[in-house]
Symmetry: C2
């Protein structure tokens, strides 16, 4: 499903040593140069949100399986979720596993699900932590979060990786609070990408809901303008890549995780996510493969 332009860009990135390929599509090691750009973007996003003093949380790449189950993700995106499985046997089962491995056969059927799932979106692990604190204060909650995320969608498009990072701000509170937050960040997101000298559009969007029922969910999400994306033409003008997303979840996650406002109502939530790999790829596309030669204004925005 990857286009020639995507594969050509992938090959350029590999040839310049910015990414290192593996035997699995969508799984790459990063060079130091690539990483410095990605971390510069994360720092830029955090600086833009610092005035409101968000609580900073950094997550490991996995969250509890219970969080995945409660979130509704398995209902909407079962095809993308990843669970972590481990060996639970003793010496005899170990001998059998090694014999299977030595025969070159599939040894993974004996792996048992652990209590950990791969995080599919950087904001999910935050909700149970905030919910456990009890009802929100009157001004709600505001978080600056980051996580590695997993989505099982092998692809040769370098902008569609199976493991990638999201840097998000998350707002939890009343509908008014979270909608004002999303509006503020729609403007900030534009300003941030503009400061990086990358052309973009912002448009209403939908998530890749699974199966037949998913088509209706997607249409509904668009009709209600619950999701906007900031789109950059990385390998195609016709099918630009979502580099930021601005999501209003209504009270869906509030219900799922028992988030309550100060007056006891179910909280609404919104999140704005910056895809660190995708914005890095956009910068490399528009300014070239050598960041030392990038425009001064872009370098200052990223690295001060």
């Amino acid at each position: 499903m990857s286009t020639e332009a995507q594969i050509a860009y992938r090959n350029e990135l590999l040839a310049h040593g910015l990414l290192h390929a593996t035997d699995v599509d969508g799984l790459y090691a990063r060079s130091g140069v690539f990483e410095d750009i990605a971390l510069g973007i994360a720092a830029l996003v955090s600086r833009n949100g610092a005035a409101e003093k968000p609580e900073v949380m950094r997550f490991p790449p996995g969250m509890t399986r219970g969080t995945l189950e409660r979130s509704g993700y398995l209902r909407s995106f079962p095809q993308l979720a990843g669970t972590i499985h481990a060996f639970a046997g003793g010496d005899p089962e170990h001998a059998a596993l090694l014999a299977t491995l030595d025969r070159g056969e599939d040894w993974t059927s004996g792996q048992k699900a652990t209590g950990i799932a791969f995080t599919p979106a950087a904001c999910y692990p935050a909700y149970p932590i905030v919910a456990k604190r009890g009802p929100l204060p009157a001004d709600g909650a505001l978080l600056d979060v980051q996580s590695w995320c997993f989505r099982h969608e092998p692809s040769l498009d370098p902008a569609r990786q199976q493991l990638f990072r999201q840097h998000e701000h998350v707002r939890i509170g009343t509908a008014e609070q979270v909608l004002a937050f999303r509006e503020q960040w729609l403007q900030r997101g534009r300003a941030i990408i503009e400061s990086l000298g990358v052309p973009f559009d912002v448009d209403v969007a939908n998530d890749p809901f699974f199966g037949r029922a998913g088509r209706m969910l997607a249409a509904n999400q668009r009709d209600q303008a619950l999701k906007f994306e900031l789109l950059v033409a990385i390998t195609s003008k016709e099918k630009p890549t979502a580099c930021c997303s601005f999501n209003y979840h209504q009270d869906h996650l509030g219900h799922a995780f028992g988030l309550r406002t100060a007056d006891g109502a179910t909280a609404h939530t919104a999140c704005v996510g910056f895809g660190l790999e995708r914005i890095t790829l956009a910068l490399l596309r528009y300014h070239g493969f050598d960041p030392k030669a990038w425009p001064d204004a872009v370098r200052r925005a990223l690295w001060g």
Copy 2:
């Protein structure tokens, strides 16, 4: 298996908001303060190794399942490895999954292994990348790498997390080259931890090899002094915590991944790993929970 001292330290870290607990033992979110310390340690380690101009690689938290299989990790530590599994069905299987989930039963048996395993040690993903380049140059290879790692060992000891970061330097070359590297880093590791004002010991050590055969492997590893650890008394003087490890793999990984020296011989490898979470926990133990009040020399070492 956790001691009272470990649980007491865990509770202090949670009460100070440095870590946020989840329903899974050994899985925590990090505060911004915790994260700044961990990133400061990584930067300090990289600065100490910068003179030799290592190639910097940063890995996503997963590596190919083939790398796990080739590495020998399943032979030695099957109990610690994690594989990533995903849903592979259509609409009917999805309906069945959701029905199982709604009944509160185990829905994970239908998950199928993907091509990705969780990375158990930060150096593993490097070997196939270096091997693919062909025989090494005469001076071998030197890498500065970092990765999130997974080890399935649920514990209430905050120094034994299921998801944590290793910052490593890796040397690939002749036996002489890699042993000289390990000796150099044994001295550097001491100097780095000394500069952080944390008391430590260095001792010969062994990995937690699995099962009955594992006891012999562990004894053999000790007899040959293949592994040293830098140990800090975080919650116990009698059972100090390994914060750095200095490992000589002989030609084991060279064989496993087809690494060749310039003259065609199987390469030897060594790695030195700094546990970012464990060193952070050691600093918080010895200097207190507020880094602003830490000794100036320690703050300068971490943040310049």
